[in-house]
Symmetry: C2
Amino acid sequence: MNIGEAAALSGVAPKNIRYYESIGLIGPAKRAANGYRAYDETDVRLLGFVNRARSLGFSVNDVGGLLSLYQDHGRASGDVKKLALEHIEDIDRKVAELQSMRRTLKDLTDRCHGDDRPDCPILDDLAAGPDDRPDTVQAAE
Amino acid sequence: MNIGEAAALSGVAPKNIRYYESIGLIGPAKRAANGYRAYDETDVRLLGFVNRARSLGFSVNDVGGLLSLYQDHGRASGDVKKLALEHIEDIDRKVAELQSMRRTLKDLTDRCHGDDRPDCPILDDLAAGPDDRPDTVQAAE
DNA sequence: CTTGACGTTACAGTAACTGGAAGGCCTATA
DNA sequence: TATAGGCCTTCCAGTTACTGTAACGTCAAG
């Protein structure tokens, strides 16, 4: 099958399939007589693997590691689990950071009346930094 | 003061100050006789503003918008609040996405014994997709 | 007078694509 | 048979927000 069909079946856009090939994440595709890339079900399965791993937030680099483990039938499941657990920790760090930003922004927007008047505690805080407003309620969680 | 001191006071690295200047986020700095960039307290305050906005996750583009509002004394606080609220929604979307990834990964790692044996439900799932394992428990929240 | 810290510019590289140009191939229809 | 369209090819540029490096100028201290 051509790249378009492989893309539709695997969920990876043609452009990205070529990109993954160009960076060596997946091997070079076989070619039909006309020079078009030719894929079979095995290739589609592999592309689907890449797609699912990427959508779980694994970096392209990580996916490379997962692919070698996937293709190595003697691999230890502990290696895979380790990668996945590290990735969970990454996610937890990102979530914590985002939630911290969110708390600050929520606090700021709650204190901003948000009408036509120019007074705006959001800008005031950004200009001065929270340290310059010691009267602010720093609610504990 | 030189760029190094302005950097230390504002929390923005010298390299990033030059970068922000190069993309026009901040205006070109005055120059001392020797060609060095020269900053005063007003500049430092502005850099600090940029720094705090960036650390709250506003894009450089957003910061540009906030800066114009900051420097426009007739602006409406509603404009600022709108930007901030949109940003909170962005954050909420990102957190939801990350938490969805985390749930899937946690489910996978819980089912992976993670020892020297090659069997690994993580790789199996990535290879086949969750749809091919209809016996999996899809816990409600 | 040299050393080291600091400053300057300019260019390349990062992650992971995305868009676009310019052209080749394939099939169907008028 | 001509042509229209849709898919395929390669290659290059742009995106975001920096970061690294090179090659150079300047300044203060010992």
